[in-house]
């Protein structure tokens, strides 16, 4: 038993190390990725410049912290597995991966984690610049809150990774699964709280949105970290619930898909 877990640990560790050095090669690109995530700051500008936040009873400072946290959560929960998998499956690269005694999605998972580590310093620089322009919003979160929000950001990343992996498995049936991902991205963009906090949504949306996974992707971790009001136990349990719902679905679609898979030329 110990040997097996050691083996798995070593595998994951090696994968992470390989992918991290891989990612370090593309520092400039990752910096650009980080910059391309600054939309929340533009939104913040609209909110505070038009005093829209008065209506939802959130002060300027808390709102700017919210959007900064939304930026951070987004930075560490970006997933692009469907695009990698689509390219690999179109190029026929999936076949050698399937022979290896390791689910290829571990490889993508390690890729994402390594990219997040590489991205971290750039995100910090952007946060630092944000504080220079906005010194009033500097705050230091509680250690326990910080840990909890790291956990919930990771859970949000896991949810999105699972959803995208399920979409990626559709590559076994259709060749272009990325267009389905682009479709799913639209509700994620507008309902997750990246552009406007979920509190500000009209009541007819608020009544059902907390049952969907969307508010737990960005709104919940960002509220938690920024010290805005939020229901911690409900948020975390909903995140875990969605993971438990999505994981079997992924396993099912993966086993169906690999049965269906026929490599190019065979």
């Amino acid at each position: 038993m110990i040997m097996i877990s050691n083996l798995i640990n070593r595998k994951i560790f090696t994968l992470l190390k390989v992918q991290y050095s891989n990612m370090l090669e593309y520092r400039v690109e990752i910096a650009l990725w980080a910059i391309s995530g600054i939309i929340p700051f533009f939104m913040l500008n609209i909110w505070t410049n038009n005093n829209l936040n008065e209506a939802i009873n959130i002060s300027d400072v808390l709102l700017s912290r919210y959007f900064l946290c939304a930026f951070f959560v987004r930075q560490f929960s970006v997933v692009w597995v469907v695009f990698s998998f689509e390219e690999d499956s179109l190029m026929g690269k999936v076949s050698p991966y399937l022979i290896q005694p390791l689910n290829p999605f571990f490889r993508y998972f390690a890729q994402h984690l390594a990219e997040q580590i590489t991205r971290f310093p750039f995100a910090l620089i952007i946060a630092f610049l944000f504080f220079i322009f906005n010194p009033k919003s500097i705050w230091i979160p509680d250690l326990s809150i910080l840990l909890l929000s790291i956990v919930s950001t990771f859970l949000s990343f896991l949810i999105q990774f699972l959803i995208q992996s399920i979409v990626a498995c559709l590559c076994f049936w259709t060749e272009k699964a990325s267009s389905i991902e682009r479709l799913l991205f639209i509700p994620t963009l507008f309902l997750s709280g990246l552009l406007a906090p979920v509190v500000s949504f009209p009541p007819y949306v608020k009544s059902w949105i907390y049952l969907t996974p969307f508010p737990y992707l960005i709104d919940f971790p960002a509220n938690l970290l920024s010290g805005n009001e939020t229901n911690i136990s409900r948020g975390l349990s909903m995140q875990i619930l969605w993971i438990f719902l999505l994981f079997p679905l992924f396993k099912k679609i993966w086993s169906e898909g690999t049965k269906k898979y026929t490599a190019m030329g065979s």
Binding site: Y26, V28, E29, I30, L32, W33, I35, S36, G37, I38, I39, F42, N45, I46, T48, N49, N50, N51, L52, E54, A55, T174, E175, K176, S179, I180, R182, L183, I186, P187, L189, F190, L195, A196, S200, F201, P202, V205
Partner: protein
């Protein structure tokens, strides 16, 4: 420059890329749903902004919808022409196939900018026009000749500026090889074109009209629609568009001097 030859070549481009894209029919349907949802989403976001305020940056909700309509049209144009072609430049340069483009007895910029076409963007353009007609009705805009000419001039200038921005970034591939992410940065900046420029703070307004002229792309045409526009703004947009087109052309020719193909 032989115009007829170029038209003929373009017809062939249209034919081949339509034929290859129509192979993925379900894809086009999915893209249509994406475009509709994305429009609904941005109107939803706008309605949140206007929930308790009558005005955002001096614009009413009905007026701000015009900006959404123009943004949707321009985004459709981007998805139909700019995105499929200009991301192709990256591939050409990485794989060294730009050589084949340069060897052809045809202008390389023409070839590279218009070779491909993504028909699902048409649907987005149509969606944008539908919203625009709706806005014309609810804002009670009189259609007359001078209005039509002014609006078509400003919109075509916006298209030129947008094209030049995309082409600029794609051209830098010659030095940096991988510019997917720079395109992503441009996309996220363009996103603010969905909102009236006046709703941003002064410093951002300066940034988006001087450094990256996104302000010109949607706000000025919308002002023309509402009859708020002043002549110097329209003239300025025309000048900016011409300057951008000429510099993007010069920049391409300049960059080509640095192109060394994949194996030489």
């Amino acid at each position: 420059m032989n115009l007829r030859k170029y038209l003929k070549v373009y017809r062939k481009f249209l034919h081949t890329s339509l034929a290859s894209e129509l192979e993925y029919k379900t894809n086009i349907l999915v893209d249509l749903i994406t475009a509709i949802l994305s429009l609904i989403g941005s109107i939803f976001l706008l309605s949140i902004f206007f929930q308790n305020n009558g005005y955002i940056g001096g614009w009413k909700f009905e007026q701000a919808l015009i900006i959404q309509a123009i943004y949707t049209i321009l985004n459709g144009i981007t998805n139909t022409w700019f995105n499929p072609n200009l991301t192709e430049i990256v591939k050409h340069i990485r794989e060294g196939t730009l050589d084949f483009v340069l060897l052809k007895p045809i202008d390389s910029q023409f070839f590279i900018s218009l070779k491909k076409l993504n028909p699902s963007g048409f649907l987005e353009i149509m969606l944008g026009f539908l919203l625009l007609f709706f806005c014309i009705r609810i804002n009670q805009i009189n259609l007359n000749l001078s209005f039509l000419t002014l609006s078509s001039i400003t919109i075509s200038c916006s298209i030129c500026i947008l094209y030049s921005l995309w082409f600029f970034i794609s051209t830098t591939t010659i030095w940096f090889v991988k510019t997917w992410n720079a395109i992503e940065v441009l996309r996220s900046f363009l996103y603010i074109g969905r909102f009236p420029l006046n709703s941003f703070s002064f410093s951002l307004r300066i940034f988006f009209s001087v450094f990256i002229p996104i302000a010109f792309i949607t706000t000025i045409p919308s002002e023309v629609f509402l009859g708020l526009s002043v002549l110097w703004k329209i003239l300025l947009e025309v000048i900016v568009a011409i300057v951008f087109l000429i510099t993007s052309r010069k920049f391409w020719l300049f960059a080509l001097k640095f192109y060394s193909s994949a194996s030489s």
